[in-house]
Subunit: 233 residues, 2 copies
DNA sequence: TTGGATTATAAGTATATACATAAAAACCTG
DNA sequence: CAGGTTTTTATGTATATACTTATAATCCAA
């Protein structure tokens, strides 16, 4: 490639990717800088910039100002996965969605939750246990804690009409969140709620969301057996 | 905000985000076009473009040429998660990594695998079962199928020195992959290999990677109890 | 009324230019 | 030579401009 042809940032990206894959540029090695590449490819530096930035975002390149751009040493692939609202997920499969509130209380949380929610000792939180059903069958249940200080209006919300999750995403802006995925073994409680056998392996998502000042909510979703989360690169 | 101040694409993005969160722009609604916003924010259209493109990538906006930009109706949050090589993951925690090949054979795969690998009937694949250990304790085991047609050189590779996964990422470029995450219940085999109890819930990742012409490999990783995959938004 | 061609429009991209910023490298200076 | 200062440099960002492309909307004819 020596200039003259048509070039888009995608063309540049593809060629850079090819060189990485072909080991013409080896892991850890510096690649030519943007200015040089733009000359080589016969395009503007901004075009090269966009291509390299994109590759850096997906983990294949490491870039640092002044230092330059190098092929990532440990090419950690990044997969993006969608975190849908459960109702949409169920309805998206053509099943009917229903949910019911199994428990709603305002209590002082156990210490683990208190730590996650970063609330003071003795502060009461809203505790909700909700079961979501797909075509009438248990799909997932959520054990959720909400900080009422962070969520004005939650007291007045009818959480049996609209699930807490939906109410929150619709009404409370948040800045960030963290997710963790794991597996657990169904105990008596889980088996009862999800109508499965004790001892089955269940998929679990723990999630907290927060805004600038508060942890808004922290929830553990325990899915019925067979649940599968999927993504592509 | 009416022009004159300092503006970066991040400022624009933050303000757009604020309006979405504050429901000034409601889900499903069209927002002003790039030209209008660039006037309002007193910046170039390219700056607005970058901000909006970014928000669209993270699922908060829907954009279509000619049609315009609208707030996503079902704001599916996208989380990105890192898919590390197991050795790096273990070594990253300061533990020592070791792995051993439990089984290596060249056989015709069962039909489920054959479908995943898109190989013809009767075609033999490389089948590998590998256990990865952290500080000598079972961490995860991989049940892997490799298409030798897609992987020249695999026959000569010493897969007890370097794990198949590492060998593959180091030697075989791939175009895409898919991942699915689920939970299973430990049976006799899993309990034996992972030194856990039968009936424990285990975290499972199924993953296939391919290039233009072939499915390269398909692997199921079954993690020892307690494994947790984590990500932030 | 349908269905195909035309037009108008909003996003998408490319580019030259300029300046900002982080940080490595070189240069002091005590 | 240590520690701080300056310089250099590669990436990061902003902007005006121009052109491309997908596609919604319109128009027109059978």
């Amino acid at each position: 490639m020596s200039g003259g042809e048509f070039n888009s940032w995608q063309t540049v990206q593809a060629e850079v990717l090819r060189r990485i894959n072909a080991r013409e540029w080896k892991p850890g090695e510096f690649i030519p800088n943007e200015a040089e590449l733009s000359v080589e490819f016969g395009c503007a530096r901004a075009t090269v910039n966009r291509a390299l930035r994109n590759l850096a975002e997906s983990g294949l390149l490491d870039r640092r100002r002044k230092a330059g751009t190098r092929v990532a040493l440990h090419p950690v692939r990044k997969a993006t996965l969608d975190i849908p609202v459960i109702r949409y997920e169920i309805e998206g499969k053509g099943q009917t969605y229903r949910h019911s509130v199994l428990l709603q209380e305002r209590v002082v949380p156990p210490s683990g939750i208190r730590a996650r929610m970063r609330t003071g000792p003795g502060v009461k939180l809203l505790h909700l246990v909700t079961l979501h059903l797909a075509d009438g069958k248990p799909y997932v249940f959520g054990d959720r804690w909400i900080n009422p200080d962070a969520v004005p209006g939650i007291e007045k919300a009818d959480l049996s009409a609209q699930s807490a999750n939906e109410w929150l995403v619709a009404n409370i802006p948040f800045e960030g969140g963290d997710f963790s995925f794991s597996a657990m073994t169904a105990g008596k409680r889980e088996a009862e709620i999800l109508a499965c056998k004790e001892g089955e392996g269940l998929f679990v998502i723990d999630r907290s969301t927060w805004n600038k000042t508060h942890v808004i909510t922290s929830v553990r979703l325990t899915f019925a057996p067979g649940y599968r989360m999927h993504t592509e690169i």
